[in-house]
């Protein structure tokens, strides 16, 4: 990973090779596993970041749900790099990695991400074939069993927010859900990284009612956003998905929360539309630096409030 450029967008081959090298170069802190394969057969690599130890709680963070949101995978790569490089140097990071494990899924929708590099930069969904339709793909963030396909999603395969033929119909979403289910006694927080619009959202999105933990999640989001804002004065809004933007069923954050993972958040990274999905590489560093502060804050809170 030495020489790997975290301040540019990397294609899937680069990211896949990076997962191997970052693990090989940091055996004390990073291990790589595979939680499944994508529809087109690509390996879904997962990195476990943390000092080996028993009975540790964990935080799960995924990137790359929507293929065109390139800043999202860039953040997951940045996060691993920062964590590894600051272990033993920054006391906060060292304490976090000694006491928590971070499961990092650099790209969930690998086939879609590859497609944005090779065919259509504006592609969003997975690349699975739909029965009885020539239209391709399902929206992975409408495919979870959380109010599935009831609101803010479409049951038409040609639509960008197609919820799929069934919950977890996609190999990618089922692999993620299976892994989290298998570890859900230790996973205390779920973070999913998207773009754009500069928001920090928490459940629910599939209904207007608030969760039983709304007050706590709202104050945690407020504090995390304040941390993020402190670096470059980037303004984020925060709140429950339904109230902050719109109703949208089948999201992974709602599903994780209903599974029992209380600290469940969706980050919508930079920007607010000036570039949208075409965020220049020159903004990767500031975006990742500020987001890292927010994730670090949430992680500390989770560590102290399991």
């Amino acid at each position: 990973a030495i020489g790997y450029n975290y301040e540019k967008y990397n294609n899937w081959d680069m990211i896949a090779a990076w997962t191997a090298s970052i693990a090989a170069e940091n055996p004390e802190l990073v291990s790589r596993s595979q939680i499944g394969t994508s529809y087109e057969g690509r390996p879904m690599y997962l990195l476990k970041v943390g000092k080996s130890g028993s009975n540790k709680n964990a935080i799960f963070m995924d990137c790359g749900f929507h293929a065109r949101e390139w800043i999202s995978p860039a953040f997951c790569q940045w996060f691993v790099k920062e964590a590894v490089n600051n272990y033993g140097i920054d006391s906060e990071i060292t304490n976090l990695l000694n006491n928590l494990d971070f499961y990092i899924l650099p790209v969930l929708n690998i086939d879609g991400y590859v497609y944005t590099w090779t065919n259509n930069r504006m592609w969003r969904k997975t690349r699975s074939k739909n029965a009885n339709s020539s239209c391709i793909g399902t929206d992975p963030n409408r495919n979870f069993n959380a109010g599935w396909c009831t609101v803010g999603a479409s049951n038409r395969p040609c639509d960008d927010t197609y919820c799929g033929p069934a919950p977890e119909s996609e190999k990618e979403t089922k692999a993620l859900a299976d892994f989290i289910r298998s570890k859900h006694s230790v996973i205390k927080a779920y973070l999913t990284i998207h773009s754009y619009s500069q928001m920090l959202l928490f459940p629910y999105s599939y209904k207007n009612s608030v969760t039983k933990d709304h007050t706590e999640l709202n104050s945690l989001a407020k504090a995390a956003v304040s941390q993020l804002n402190s670096l470059y004065n980037t303004r984020y809004t925060y709140g429950s998905g339904a109230a902050t933007i719109y109703l949208a069923a089948g999201g992974s954050d709602d599903w994780a929360y209903d599974l029992g993972i209380k600290y469940s958040f969706t980050f919508e990274l930079r920007d607010t539309g000036r570039y949208g999905f075409v965020l220049p590489e020159s903004q990767i560093q500031p975006t990742c630096q500020e987001t890292f502060l927010a994730v670090k804050y949430i992680s500390n809170y989770v560590l102290n409030n399991p």
Partner: protein
């Protein structure tokens, strides 16, 4: 399959002020190939929520004149998407 290029494609922003303007955007989306950037889909549009959407080159002028006829204020966020995509890779370390 040839990679899709985005020459002359534009990204617009409108903020519908009322249900009538929401319906206008929805009807636009039924007649023109619209790629919604925000919100994710036409069903989530509501008054006062910004709507960002991409249209292809051959329909961009139609969209602008339809919005003007409707008297809806709009902003062109990205005037030529292909140019923006080329500028995306601005980290000279490449």
């Amino acid at each position: 399959v040839q990679p899709h290029t985005f020459h002359g494609e534009k990204v617009f922003r409108v903020i519908p002020q009322n249900e009538e303007e929401v319906e206008f955007i929805k009807s636009l989306a039924t007649n023109i190939q619209v790629d919604f950037w925000f919100p994710d889909s036409v069903t989530q549009i509501r008054p006062a929520l910004q709507v960002d959407f991409r249209v292809e080159f051959h329909q961009a002028l139609d969209v602008q004149s339809l919005l003007a006829q409707k008297g809806m204020k709009y902003e062109v966020l990205i005037d030529n998407l292909e140019v923006a995509l080329e500028r995306e890779f601005d980290n000279n370390a490449r």
